[in-house]
Symmetry: C2
Subunit: 355 residues, 2 copies
């Protein structure tokens, strides 16, 4: 018996998660996964219910679960509350408290959606990059972080720390992923400026000794942002720190033109993980039933693959998604000439039918 | 009499600067600019000559000059020397010592080169963004910055500080630029995570009160990296911190597909400035006479415009560059079918002739 905690979150979160849960429940029956679901809140919805974006009891439930499926958090409704209680703080806290340091963000171009990209087809066709982002360290959580008055003026600062063990464990994830892909790993840093990046590069080089089959390269973050525009297909796996990973993974996902299709995983040392779509909570279209549920459905596939090692079920879900795309079904965000525009629920039902 | 210090730098620096100097000398005669040139070294070339990437006497000369024209610094030759003496340190030091906090990096798509972009023509045609990057503060120069051993393992950290006055002066540059352009300013930060970004946003809002005609927006850096791919023409002026500006300006410049065309300016509080191409020292093609000198020639135009207020001469140089493009002359980096491939010197001579 495995436990999955469902956190629908805010905005379009509940709508898209509802479809993903249907797919998960069918997969549970079909592949005898022996999975049991429980539900709770995170982000703005948690603030509304508990007064905090991540309640202690939710955190306990998350710790007890074998995996977590998350929709998305945030929205203008909570823009004016105490910054320490905003929806994002709940997301950052659950990542940190559960030690979900390994964030996998694939940027994959579906051949059926090649036209959606703003890049020329020859530049992005067949694009398949995996960004491995360090998720529980660096400037996101570094102490001290302070706001003060100095020499009569306001100032504020953040700290960007990395330790050898933090770099080593995320580097290993990068190399392990490269081993099951095309054996090319690009480590991105700013070692010509940052002390933390110099350590990063040094430790990545050390870990590389255990992976002689992987071709390792290093790239400065500014150059990586350029190369992702110039020739994104040169990359297989990219490993980088929390802040650079935040920026580059969003840039990379947008290269596909269909961010509504991209799932993500955040893993701890034992492959327990939280799974969520790459896109946000899209408050502007929430409640209209038009959001694309496929990234969340594909997050279920990642969950089964990475946390439960249920390869067959994971593959079947991916195939079902590919099939509905082949059928020409499209939500508004990926709509194209000659296709049929469907709602969130119709898309979910189509995947269930294909599965 | 105005003094310009010429720092050719490393790699292709000397070749491209030589052509830019020819253009500058002709403009000097033609527009009676009363300019006098002196020469020195920066980066690897300075290390070779003086043993340091920026010698004290060079810094004195730079302080005394009214403007500086720089080629580019760095190369594999200096990869193995003491990190504190690498070419980049000279660049960072001259920026900091001269207080060149205002870095202007235009990303402009030349209609003649529209095909060079990896983005679809409709997404980038007419692209004209100005990135205003804070250049002397933030994590590039923040103290403390340390490498140590803690709990038996190596660790390292950097500090990202910003003060009210640092943010205010760069925000003003952003608003001033927006005023002479399309009056839209987007301030990019990561205020949902960083304390320094919260101060940044607050101070930018305060400065905005003095610019009621400018439409101000705020965007998180990860979203900005996405939007630059999705719909870059939504931007007019972007103002952001040192690190985010490093990444986003490189990304934006690559959207044009012709980074060999893009100049940049780094200004102090009195519009004294250092001017250099956006591209690097390209050691792989150095000495072959094939590099594109146009970004450096356009840096001369920026120099005359921003530091000397010589608008006519600056415009004339830009027009001359546009004319050689119209003539179909192209260096290898921007070569296209139906055009004539020329060398660095031929391109320089063509601009001189057009001028
Ligand atoms: C919401 C925000 C704090 C978060 C981050 O910066 O990590 C988001 O952008 C992401 O990438 O998951
Ligand atoms: C060479 C390097 C230190 C420099 C920077 O990061 O500022 C460069 O990338 C730039 O953008 O001018």
């Amino acid at each position: 018996m495995k436990n999955i905690l469902i956190l629908p979150g805010d905005g379009i979160g509940p709508e898209i998660v509802a479809e993903a849960v249907k797919v998960l429940e069918l997969a549970n029956d079909k592949f005898a996964l022996d999975v049991q679901l429980s539900h709770d809140e995170l982000g703005g919805a948690a603030y509304d219910k508990y007064g905090v974006p991540l309640a202690d009891e939710t955190l306990d439930r998350a710790r007890a679960a074998d995996a977590i499926l998350l929709g998305a958090v945030g929205g203008p409704k909570w823009d004016t509350i105490d910054p320490a209680l905003r929806p994002e703080r709940g997301l950052l806290k659950i990542r940190s408290e559960l030690g979900l340091f390994g964030n996998l963000r694939p940027a994959l171009l579906y051949p059926q959606l090649a036209e959606s990209s703003t890049l020329k087809p020859e530049v992005v066709s067949g694009l398949d990059i995996l960004i491995v982002r360090e998720l529980t360290g660096g400037i996101y959580f570094g102490q001290p972080r302070e706001r003060l008055v100095k020499d009569g003026e306001r100032m504020a600062y953040d700290t960007l720390p990395y330790s050898e063990s933090e770099v080593r464990r995320i580097a290993k994830v990068g190399f392990d992923m490269a081993m099951v892909r095309n054996r090319k790993l690009c480590s991105v840093d700013k070692a010509n400026v940052l002390a933390s990046s110099q350590l990063w590069r040094e430790v990545v080089e050390e870990v590389a000794r255990d992976y002689p089959e992987v071709e390792l390269s290093h790239m400065y973050v500014d150059n990586a942002a350029m190369q992702l525009v110039r020739a994104p297909k040169q990359f297989d796996v990219i490993v980088t720190d929390n802040m650079f990973g935040d920026i580059l993974s969003d840039q990379a996902s947008m290269l596909t033109g269909s961010i509504g299709m991209l799932p993500s995983a955040s893993l701890d040392a034992n492959n327990k993980g939280m799974y969520e779509p790459c896109h946000g909570s899209a408050p502007d279209i929430a409640g209209q039933g038009i959001a694309n549920p496929l990234a969340t459905i594909l997050s279920v596939s990642m969950l089964l693959r990475y946390s439960f090692n249920e390869v067959k079920a994971a593959d079947a879900i991916e195939q079902a998604v590919s099939q509905v795309l082949d059928q020409g079904l499209r939500t508004g965000d990926i709509m194209a000439a000659g296709c049929r525009k469907v709602s969130t629920a119709e898309m979910g039902a189509a995947v269930v039918a294909a599965l």
